[in-house]
């Protein structure tokens, strides 16, 4: 049983460890990713960690040509756009995540409904390393 406190801080630490974790309401079994302190369905407050399988499909997306400073620093710009989106997990919850393995320069080629699997993006090294949640089209 995972004993870490249910929090966004823990959620992001799990991502650093390449785990996509949510919370499950012990009373009504509703799942939440990222985790919630309170169940918004039954208002229960007794939650436990639940590891997600990491499979889903693309529910919505955008290809960003003018990004925030931290993405500009990574070399993303008008000539090198990136894709980010909303992924509906097989277990039900949706998450927002970067979408890899698609051609962000040709948005018309990207389709809502595409099956996706989780991928963890690593950049930087040592103490500077940052891990981000991403998904890519499922290898068929």
């Amino acid at each position: 049983m995972e004993e870490r406190p249910l929090s966004d801080i823990s959620y992001y630490k799990f991502i650093d460890e390449e785990k996509l974790m949510g919370s499950e309401c012990k009373k009504c079994e509703e799942l939440y990713v990222p985790p919630r302190h309170f169940c918004i369905k039954c208002h229960g407050s007794d939650m436990e960690w639940h590891q997600m399988e990491g499979n889903g499909k693309l529910a919505a997306f955008t290809c960003i040509f003018i990004g925030p400073p931290f993405m500009v620093q990574q070399g993303f710009d008008r000539k090198n756009p990136y894709c980010t989106g909303v992924v509906e997990l097989e277990e039900g919850p949706r998450v927002v995540a970067r979408i890899e393995g698609v051609d962000a320069g040709d948005p018309e080629s990207i389709k809502v409904g595409t099956p996706l699997e989780v991928e963890f993006l690593h950049r930087g090294e040592g103490d500077e390393e940052v891990v981000s949640l991403a998904f890519r089209p499922t290898a068929s």
Binding site: D8, A60, T62, I64, I66, V72, V86, R94, V95, V96
Partner: protein
Amino acid sequence: MPEKRKLGRGVAIVGAGMSKFGMFADKDSKDLFAEAFKELLSSVDKGFDPERIEAMWIGNFSNDFFVHQSHWGPIISDLLGMAPIASTRTEGACAASTLAFRDGVMSIASGLYDVVLVGGVEEMSKCTTVEVTEGLALATSPYEGAAAFTFPGVFGALATAYFDKYGASREALMNVTIKSHNNAPLNPKAQFNQTIAEIMQAKIKRAEEKGRPVPSWSDEKDALRDSRFNPPVAWPMCLYDCCPISDGASCMLLVAEDMAGEFTDKPVYLAGMGQGSGRGLHAAPSLTSFEANKQAAAEAYGMSGLEPKDIQFSEVHDCFSIAELIHTEDLGFFGPGEAFEAVADGATKLDGPMPINTSGGLKCKGHPVGATGVSQLIEVWKQLRGDAGKRQIPGRDLHVGGAQNLGGTGGTCTFTILERR
């Protein structure tokens, strides 16, 4: 139950003013609010002594970030010579000044005050585009920022969900943009004052003068499809789907309903108002609707006893073109998935059956975020009084209009219904 929410006493709008919206290197927030307040002073039909103002609420999203100055309540009360009366800043991202309006209304309805000033201000253009993008992204949900969503990116994602669900395409968004740009030249306060056709002609003329290749667009949509004219920002949101970076201020004088006759013979009354909250893309019940809108609309319709069919025209928060389609469906003006065809049929044009954003909308009027909500209410106030000049809705006896304001990426939504009796 939303329908039970009634005010303790009625509230009337008896004066209003706004600065020109735009990018002003030589004006700061105080200058802009002064411009708005001077217009308010001259707008009160029977005149009025500013000494009568008992309290004020000022909406501001993020001047803290944009110009490194916070605490705008007392700055504005001092500017107007109103200190030491209570002056409170409200923050609800891009809905900040509608929240100021709501607080002012509730203060009168409760009996605490009789005469209050509400308004908003934002000063964004001293920042670079990257800085403004970063500043606005402060109002996305926390997880969206981590996934590298920008503000236009969130609305871009909603657009792809809308396209997929209803079979719409970028053409639908272009109809919204073209309509807004057709209204803009009629609004002297608007940041942009050209139709898309006029912008195309100006670009063609410039190309000819400079000896560059002359574009050969067949019509407005042909130009909007051209990525040199309309480059992608967060696809499918392109440049002409996005409202601009703006500076501006707006303000409004609210009084207890039974006092309105002291100020004007043409008061406009609050009929209903509502506010809702939302929870970010990942947890939203729908990607083609804002739950906060539904809550706000239910409250406003409940309070007023009115239905969507009673609203004769409305301002809605078209920060991005797709938002205008979603709002007009959430408010019940059109059925789910029906707004894009209604816009294509001309229903929302100035002379259509349901005019939307007669002001030119955020797209053309501009979007100084803290000033936007009250500026929307001013447009409805002007239309109801028959004071909207060249953009007055033609051939209609107007009694009821709406204004919908959105904060963040749907985290806050308001709907306000004004009426002339």
